[in-house]
Amino acid sequence: KNYRKVDEEFFEELEEILISADVGVHTVMELIDELKDEARTRNIREAHDIQPLITEKLAELLEGAEGETKLKVQEDGLTVILFVGVNGVGKTTTIGKMAHKFKQEGKKVLLAAGDTFRAGAIEQLEVWGQRVDVDVIKQQAGSDPAAVMFDALQAAKSRNADILLCDTAGRLQNKVNLMKELEKVKRVITREIPGAPHEVLLVLDATTGQNAMSQAKTFGQATDVSGIILTKLDGTAKGGIVLAIRHELDIPVKFVGLGEGMDDLQEFVPEQYVHGLFADVLDEAEAAEN
């Protein structure tokens, strides 16, 4: 059998695949160098033998410590989850999907309409509330988002809710005032319920390129992000920047969005994700081998 060789051409192709997946040129160069070293020391000559090594390496990076990719849901009492991110990435939709997921698990779920700014944002969340049969706590458009959160927390406590999912307006991370507003929203939550929010989920759009790193850094500083939700993976974009984010900032991906329907939210499985990154090169390599 004629196996594909691990040569300069192989690494060049690998580099292109990773760059075109938005992993980012620096992380890619580092990775390729490590792989080259490893291939040399282990005397690996065939693509066939290096593939498990690549997959393992990347999956390990994304996996992190045991259970890190799971949501921190309180055993008993209320779990508050705050959703943050730039404009149009899929925060509100993800809340709808996640409400559905918790509802199916038999949890009592409430939604907080914390985006009081964007036209139609409250109505959008309300449609999702009706769709998955969950109540939405809201005020009118233009009101103070921190006040909405305060109301929602009181409602969640008095109604003995298990889960409160808090929507916020999309904002670009370089808008200082808007980031301050978000910090305030978070502070109000912590003041009302010590230990809350139990998760701060940064929603990232898989089509986003290198700017996602800046998003993760700035939202991380402002709100102490505990996990990432990578949306729109049903398209052709791969969202490879999450590798660099994990590498540099150590923020784990917890869920992925795979469509616009209520069932299109899945737990993040590192091996599966990494396989997706390389699907093209793996197929090609296999074809070359057969």
Binding site: H26, N87, G120, Q124, W128, S214, G235
Partner: protein, 298 residues
């Protein structure tokens, strides 16, 4: 390391060569490596970068740079010139039909900024061109999409045509066009639902709207933060619909916006407007030269 400007990067390389007195072809090659890094970090598509580097290298290893006393500056100058040329020199205007109304159709991925841009454009046309636009709510899928456009319409006091979400977008468009004639609107702006370029059914829907409305302008709305996938998206929408222009949104952020170069390169279509904020007046004409500098971090 990331997001460092090209000038700083080249400076680093130049410091290494400085003592040598003369710049060799190998030194230029090293500088071009830095240019490649800067473009990739700015999210310019890697295939576009490859072609770009090849053409710049030709000029850069020529006398112009090798003999120059300030090779770093020369490389930057060459790169900037070539990039500006590729972005498209002149500023491009929105279409005007010979016989009104001018029909403009918006298209793009989910969350790119179509609905917001529809409102911004209507506002722009009224304010800057004294036009009487009609906005059409043809997104029947996204929760509260119609409400979103209606709210923006109310804010601006610009009419929105809608028929709810139980009527097909083609049917909505047909009725909207009749209404526009009746009420003498000179621009009709059709807001469509976000869709993936690989979603065959929804791409077909855009085909159908286009066939019916025969738009004068089909604007692809692209998020400036888009990464490498921008070429796939732009290529697919262009092949399918024949787009006439691009609107680049969310340029008020801190993205380098290399996607601008990618979409321009693969479609050959001009970028007509830049979205500079969430508010309805945050739409600006697009300046190719400024974008070139921004991509390079200068």
């Amino acid at each position: 390391m990331a997001f460092e400007g090209l000038a700083e990067r080249l400076q680093g390389t130049l410091n290494k060569i400085r003592g040598k007195g003369k710049v060799s072809e190998a030194d230029v090659k090293e500088m071009m490596r830095e240019v490649r890094f800067a473009l990739l970090e700015a999210d310019v598509n890697f295939k576009v970068v490859k072609e770009f580097i090849t053409s710049v290298k030709e000029r850069a290893v020529g006398q112009e740079v090798l003999k120059s006393l300030t090779p770093g500056q020369q490389v930057i100058k060459v790169v900037n010139e070539e990039l500006t040329a590729l972005m498209g020199g002149e500023q491009s205007k929105i279409a005007v039909a010979n016989k009104p109304p001018t029909i403009v159709m918006m298209a793009g991925l989910q969350g790119a900024g179509k609905t917001t841009t529809t409102a911004k454009l209507a506002n722009h046309l009224r304010k800057k061109h004294n036009r009487k636009p009609l906005m059409v709510a043809a997104d029947i899928y996204r929760p509260a999409a119609i409400k979103q456009l209606e709210t923006l319409g109310k804010q601006l006091d610009i009419p929105v045509f809608s028929m709810g979400d139980q009527v097909s977008p083609v049917e909505i468009t047909k009725n909207a066009l009749a209404k526009a004639k009746e009420e003498h609107h000179d621009y009709v702006l059709i807001d469509t639902a976000g869709r993936l370029h690989v979603d065959e059914d929804l791409m077909k829907e855009l085909d159908d709207i286009k066939a019916l409305a025969d738009p004068d302008e089909i604007l692809l709305v692209v998020d400036a933060m888009t990464g490498q996938d921008a070429v796939n998206v732009a290529e697919s929408f262009n092949e399918r619909l024949g787009i006439t222009g691009i609107v680049l949104t969310k340029l008020d952020g801190d993205t380098r916006g290399g996607a601008a170069l990618s979409v321009k390169a693969v479609t050959g279509t001009p970028i007509k407007f830049a979205g500079m904020g969430e508010k309805v007046d945050a739409l600006e004409p697009f300046y190719p030269d400024r974008m070139a500098s921004r991509i390079l971090g200068m």
